[in-house]
């Protein structure tokens, strides 16, 4: 491709003949020209990037920066904010529910990892082994992800209903006593974990399936020739080959499950006896029930810091993977 207008603003790539007719430029000028040419060549990309940056700045970064500032301010949205130092944090630490919320969140995260990590992996292994009706089973596993979270929560609320709910009716039909599920502080959190695992396992399973699909078949064939059974194949081929994906999903799940909100908000409201009050639920109360945006922001900053550790680990891992 050539252009007779090498000096055009539209920056067509210059031909060797047009370059030869130019006077020789100094190294500084050459760098400038090169920079200008590069800028012109990528003008469209920079323009689109700028538009995206403006949107990000307005709707993502500004709220984040504002949130951090709010953590140290008292605001009423009428008068100018007043700086209160660490008062908002002190208020949070003095709230007896603060510790309870963190404990509950960590408990949810721990339980969600036990179930939400193992169940999708095992499901993916099973799906990978299935020879017939693959598409049907994959769709069946993915189906819950398509339900809106609130619908899922309301549906499971009926499953758990200690009166005419699905679970207790089913247990009653086979002569077993029903459970209190959400209505008991000892089982409420576990009941929420089941809902969360059921609702989200579809996506995780698909990622595992994709990872399993990348394992070369020869490895399994070699293992089988060596007489390896299912467990040995899992241990010596599947786990080592999917280690990276497992680790990345573990981190992503920690980050996601620590932000649990919909299930306790819709299904238990934090009860019974505060046993399902999570960090985000308490944060929501501070912001929208107590209208104390300073303390709510302080709480979100604390959560941000906690999750930042895992996010940094995640970024480091993925960068390492890109380099290898």
């Amino acid at each position: 491709m050539s252009s007779p207008r090498s000096s055009s603003l539209l920056a067509w790539p210059a031909t060797s003949s047009s370059r030869a007719r130019r006077p020789v430029a100094s190294p500084g000028e050459r760098r400038k020209t090169k920079f200008r040419r590069k800028l012109k060549e990528n003008l469209t990309a920079y323009g689109l990037l700028c538009a995206a940056l403006v949107v990000f700045a307005l709707f993502s970064w500004y709220p984040i920066v504002r949130g951090v500032l709010l953590s140290f301010q008292q605001v009423d949205f009428v008068n100018a904010p007043t700086w209160v130092g660490f008062d908002n944090f002190e208020r949070l630490f003095a709230d007896p529910l603060f510790g309870v919320a963190w404990r509950n969140t960590l408990l949810f995260t721990g339980l969600a990892l036990v179930f939400g990590f193992a169940v999708p992996f095992l499901t993916a292994v099973l799906l990978n082994e299935i020879r017939h009706a693959k598409a049907f089973f994959r769709l069946a596993v993915y189906l819950p992800v398509m339900l809106p979270p609130v619908v899922t929560a309301l549906m499971w609320k009926w499953f758990y209903d200690p009166g005419p709910g699905l679970f207790n009716s089913a247990l009653g039909a086979v002569g077993l006593p029903g459970g209190q599920w959400l209505d008991s502080s000892s089982t409420a959190m576990l009941s929420l974990v089941f809902v969360s695992t059921w609702a989200n396992m579809g996506s995780t399973t698909l990622i595992y399936l994709a990872a399993l699909g990348t394992i070369p078949g020869e490895l399994y064939e070699a293992a089988e020739l060596d007489g390896a059974g299912l467990w040995k194949r899992l241990r010596h081929v599947t786990f080592p080959q999917t280690r990276f994906v497992l680790l990345v999903l573990l981190l992503l799940q920690i980050v996601a499950t620590m932000q649990v909100f919909t299930e306790p908000y819709v299904m238990t409201g934090g009860g019974p006896d505060d046993s399902t009050v999570t960090v985000l639920l308490l944060l929501y109360r501070y912001a929208f029930v107590y209208n104390d945006f300073g303390s709510a922001s302080a709480m979100s900053l604390l959560l941000f810091v906690a999750l930042g550790v895992f996010s940094a680990w995640y970024v480091r891992l993925t960068r390492k993977a890109d380099q290898t």
Partner: protein
């Protein structure tokens, strides 16, 4: 790599995208309050317009707007749908989008006043007609510690006991003699639950701050309190014999009598659904629940009765009102007050308002809408006489309520009510979901939580 687009087009497109993006962003940041005065008229935005799903209430509201504008040619009303939404309140205020006249529940004014989010109407309200005929305790709900006024009450309810007359009859109880004490409530609930088939004798809330709200009702009914003022400071006042007694009743009905059903963590909509389905005998409620039950569940007014608060020592007063945007100009404040008074606090329109309800085949005669019980003295008598004249629901079903509420002490909600209710939810939940709940420990733990909330009351 060459661009897939024509270069001229790409640059133009780029400029358009950038300009469009900036324009959108700037529009999003803009102040919506740009037409305060149009053609010499003061334009005010107001909340409280019922949604289209309530066609009767909506038509009354819209007709009132037209009539008001006709009689007040200098004021233009821009109605907005909806009532109080705490989730958007502060964001709207921060973004200049909060209405000039906005709706609040009785639980919120104290916090709104403390955060300077309402206009001081102390002086402007002095010229509002009939303001002195409003019950003073309701006006106090909108005052700060210095006695300055920041809003006007427009509706008031008094908590009582709502019951199903058909279930009373089925259980062999006299629906014209509803229970007057908590012992009687307990005994009747047991008999109703004995009907079986999933019928629940008595239900109570324990979720989304509504448990704390009802526990406050329990405390008041026993002559107790939730918070008391010691000098300048507030302190929790329920970790005592009355608190224990209230929770013991709930515990015994739930676990000893099994008259409260197995399903707990209930809130208003759950309980209304149970009552509407004919599966519930009694629950603590205000008369405004009756039209909800009739309309949503195709019920009949004859099927419901309301008794005064059991215990007879006190009851909870709640309600709603309107406050004015602190950023509103003096003209808007004046126009806003004219609207509130004309629409909601207007004895001259009592009869017309009642007639609207009669014509629309809506209930008249309930101790609630169409003319809320915010009045005292001669205005109250005038209102009661008109309601009796046009009554189209069986007034005898509410007689016990009317008789009791005029005698017992009514107390408004505690300061920072929503936060206190959130703390008390867990106490209600503990008693209703754990047979072995330690009531003393629950009360003591909730008391320390509530004290930390009350320490912030200014």
């Amino acid at each position: 790599m060459s661009s897939p687009w024509s270069r001229t087009v790409s640059r133009r497109t780029l400029c358009l995208i950038a300009a469009g993006g900036l324009a959108l962003s700037l529009a999003a940041c803009g102040d919506g309050d740009n037409a305060a005065q149009t053609g010499g008229k003061v334009k005010i935005t107001v909340t409280g317009q019922p949604p289209t799903s309530q066609p009767f209430e909506r038509s009354v509201f819209d007709a009132d707007v037209k009539e008001f504008e006709a009689s007040h040619p200098n004021i233009q009303i821009e109605p907005h749908e909806g009532f109080m939404d705490p989730k958007t309140f502060s964001a709207k205020l921060a973004g200049g989008q909060l209405e000039d006249v906005y709706y609040v529940y009785f639980t919120d004014p104290a916090q709104i006043i403390a955060r300077h989010q309402a206009a001081d109407i102390t002086e402007a309200a002095k010229s509002v007609p009939h303001v002195n005929d409003i019950k003073p305790e309701l006006l106090d709900n909108f005052r700060d510690a210095n006695g300055k006024l920041y809003g006007l009450p427009t509706m008031n309810y008094t908590m009582g006991l709502l019951y199903s007359r058909p279930l009373f009859q089925k259980a062999g109880l006299d629906p014209d003699k509803p229970p007057a004490t908590w012992d009687e409530v307990r005994a009747d609930a047991k008999k109703i639950a004995a009907l079986g088939n999933g019928v629940v004798g008595y239900a109570d809330y324990s979720k989304n701050n509504q448990g704390g709200w009802h526990m406050t009702g329990w405390m008041y009914s026993m002559g107790g309190d939730i918070a008391r003022k010691d000098g300048d400071k507030w302190a929790a006042d329920f970790d005592n014999e009355k608190g224990k007694q209230a929770l013991q009743y709930l515990h015994d009905m739930r676990w000893t009598d099994n008259s409260m059903g197995a399903k707990q963590l209930l809130e208003a909509t759950d309980v209304q659904r149970m009552m509407g389905a004919g599966q519930l005998g009694m629950y603590m409620a205000a008369p405004d629940n009756v039209p909800v039950l009739v309309k949503q569940f195709n019920g009949k007014y004859e099927d419901y009765g309301i008794a005064g608060m059991p215990g007879g020592q006190g009851t909870l007063l709640g309600g709603e009102g309107y406050m004015i945007n602190p950023k509103a100009s003096p003209d808007k404040v004046k126009a806003g007050l004219e609207w509130i008074q004309w629409k909601y606090l207007n004895p001259d329109r009592f009869e017309k308002h009642i007639q609207q309800y009669v014509d629309g085949k809506q209930p008249v005669g309930l101790p609630a809408e169409p003319t809320p019980d915010v009045w005292q003295g001669a205005v109250r008598d005038q209102q009661l006489a008109l309601k009796a004249k046009y009554a189209n629901v069986p007034a005898k079903n509410y007689q016990s309520y009317v008789d009791t509420t005029s005698k017992i002490k009514g107390s408004i909600e505690p300061p920072n009510a929503q936060q206190i209710y959130a703390a008390l939810d867990s106490v209600m939940q503990a008693v209703l979901t754990d047979q072995n709940a330690n009531i003393d420990q629950q009360l003591s733990s909730a008391s320390s939580k509530v004290n930390s909330v009350l320490a912030q009351v200014k």
